[in-house]
């Protein structure tokens, strides 16, 4: 399942990245080398093996629904590239 230049475009779009035309071949080439290496996983029979999403035996942790101090609004907005009043300002959406 080799990655073509079209796949590079498709994946870049999903990841919200822009890949320039002259970079595409290099991306495809390196991703294919890595995927070829990863494909050795397919030789291993994992029929019936449970997938592990977490190594810890985690359980739900509950706490009482009490208000606690939270991040100050000015501090939360301090890193905003653009803001207006108490809001983040963004370019037009549509």
């Amino acid at each position: 399942m080799a990655i073509s230049l079209d796949t590079v475009d498709y994946v870049a779009a999903l990841a919200k990245l822009r890949v320039e035309d002259e970079e595409k071949a290099d991306y495809a080439d390196k991703l294919n080398q890595i995927l070829e290496y990863m494909d050795q996983l397919s030789e291993l029979d994992t029929e019936g093996i449970l997938p592990m999403t977490q190594v810890l035996a985690t359980h739900n942790v509950f706490r009482s629904d009490e208000q606690k101090p939270s991040l100050d609004r000015e501090k939360a907005l301090a890193n905003a590239p653009d803001r207006e009043g108490g809001y983040f300002r963004v370019p037009r959406i549509m």
Binding site: L17, L44, M52, V55, A78
Partner: protein, 491 residues
């Protein structure tokens, strides 16, 4: 005694009996950084004013008999992935090159509450993605033992700072070996605790199911003391474990008599420098002389751990790094509309390796490939962990190489990502299984530091400190890098 060469324990004793002040210690480190950082590039940000202010406050507390802990007044360096309230935290990325966190990561907050003094923030591979510290937006870190070589990565700055006497200890993070491998390349001790042992709150996420905060120090005993103060449950991190922590200092003096130490044959095979395999066997003999029992064991799924790791880590990264969009923080490159702003901010904000890993992870999670890659990987993870739990029924810990080689020249893997990934073959399986791993310096090879790795049972860091201390005592000492000895005396 030369302040810069003292261990954390020695500094603590000197502060406690009034031989030294925190200001004196902090000034000595700041002078070393001023002389040396330009050659090694271990720090992205140095904060002299803040450090001296914290040191002064510490001295005042101590004078009133109110020292907060035994680390009160001792300086520390933090990997630039750990959020520090009011101090730039870049993750070595252009996209976060202006980010000043509004809060402290829990691991740093715990050190603040112990009275630690912040020297600065250490260089790293961008977003912790790399094994050489060459992908930093702020330029590579050099290995203090040989400036033409990499320090390892991704926590290369944290390791180089401790090795070159620019910090007495430091924190890093380890997702697939990013503490243990640079510790080995730079000749210092490096611990990746059990997954969930130290809170990840406020630590920029790379691959959340694998990431863990780790410790660099110049001796095993210091590492144990620092773990004692930083480990433990955190209401702000739901994956931080409630498992009991302890005072790990006692473990360092336990000795290895009667302990069973496994040598996994898959780690002593093709692909590893033969001389390193010989060193592992020699170390095993020395532990045996001290009363340990050495047992050959097998972890049959080891060879699948590395490809599985790179599927899993990149998949998680592609999801975690979706948050960098130039809207609420970080560098924005404004476009005509929102979509264009996302594309420009991300494409210019991330470096090449980060973009490659996002693309790889996005591909592995995309429609039609999810089962073949991602789900398969989670099944492999089960098998890898079961291998370990099985051998831990008969042994207390495992002894392996940390990396297939010692430090290599800068630039030698920069155009070949797969070759760089192969260097993680001994370390990633520990993250896949969620286990603790300790890298301990073990002499020199080709005049470069060599480190060996100990792997323990979940939450049994104590066993690693016991065996690590014995290994440390038996090892040929690694000399202080020549450049670090000269450093402080330079104008």
């Amino acid at each position: 005694m030369d302040i810069l060469k003292m261990t954390v324990a020695e500094l603590a004793a000197a502060l406690n009996n009034g031989e030294m002040t925190s200001v004196e210690i902090t000034e000595a480190y700041l002078a070393q950084i001023a002389a040396l950082n330009q050659h090694i590039n271990a720090y992205i940000t140095v904060c002299p004013e803040l450090a001296l202010q914290m040191a002064k406050a510490s001295d005042e507390r101590r004078a009133q008999g109110k020292a907060l802990s035994k680390l009160d007044g001792i300086p520390v360096a933090l990997k630039d992935i750990i959020c520090t309230d009011g101090v730039l935290t870049t993750c070595a990325s252009r996209i976060l090159s202006n980010f000043v966190p509004p809060y402290n990561a829990t691991c740093w907050q715990k050190l603040v509450e112990c009275g630690a003094v912040l020297l600065g923030k250490c260089n790293m591979d961008e977003f912790a993605m790399g094994s050489t510290t060459e992908s930093s937006y702020f330029g590579p870190t050099k290995n203090p033992h040989d400036l033409t070589c990499v320090p390892g990565g991704s926590s290369g700055g944290s390791a180089a700072a401790v090795a070159s006497l620019m910090a007495p200890y430091s924190l890093g993070t380890d997702t697939g070996g990013s503490v243990r491998q640079p510790a080995s390349f730079c000749g210092v001790v490096g611990l990746k605790p059990t997954y969930g042992r130290i809170s990840r709150f406020g630590v920029v996420a790379y691959a959340s199911s694998l990431d863990q905060v780790g410790i660099f120090s110049r001796c095993v005993a210091d590492c144990a003391d620092i773990l004692t103060l930083t480990a433990g449950d955190d209401p702000l991190d739901s994956t931080c474990s409630e498992a009991a922590t302890g005072d790990y200092a006692a473990a360092c003096n336990k000795g290895v008599k009667g302990m069973k130490i496994g040598l996994p044959k898959e780690f002593l095979a093709e692909g590893i420098d033969k001389r390193i395999i010989t060193k592992v066997q020699e170390a095993a003999d020395k532990l045996q002389e001290q009363g340990a029992e050495i047992i050959e064991v097998s972890l049959p799924h080891t060879r699948y751990a590395l490809p599985a790791y790179y599927v899993l880590a990149t998949a998680e990264a592609s999801s975690n790094l979706a948050r960098y969009d130039g809207i609420r923080y970080g560098v924005r490159e404004q476009g005509d509309d929102l979509e264009e702003t996302y594309l420009k901010s991300r494409s210019h904000g991330f470096g090449e390796e980060v973009k490659r890993r996002i693309m790889l992870g996005t591909y592995a999670l995309s429609s039609g490939y999810y089962d073949a890659y991602y789900n398969k990987t989670l099944q492999v993870r089960t098998l890898v962990r079961e291998d370990y739990l099985k051998v831990f029924e008969t042994v207390d810990c495992l002894l392996t190489p940390t990396a297939p080689s010692v430090a290599y020249p800068l630039g030698s893997v920069s155009d070949n990502p797969l070759a760089m990934y192969m260097g993680d073959v001994c370390t990633v399986t520990v993250n896949m299984a969620g286990l603790p791993g300790l890298a301990v310096p073990y002499g020199l090879l080709d005049e470069k530091p060599l480190g060996l790795q100990l792997i323990g049972k979940p939450f049994d860091e104590a066993a690693l400190f016991a065996v690590g201390s014995a290994l440390e005592a038996a090892a040929e000492k690694i000399p202080t890098p020549a450049i670090a000895v000269k450093g402080g005396q330079r104008s």
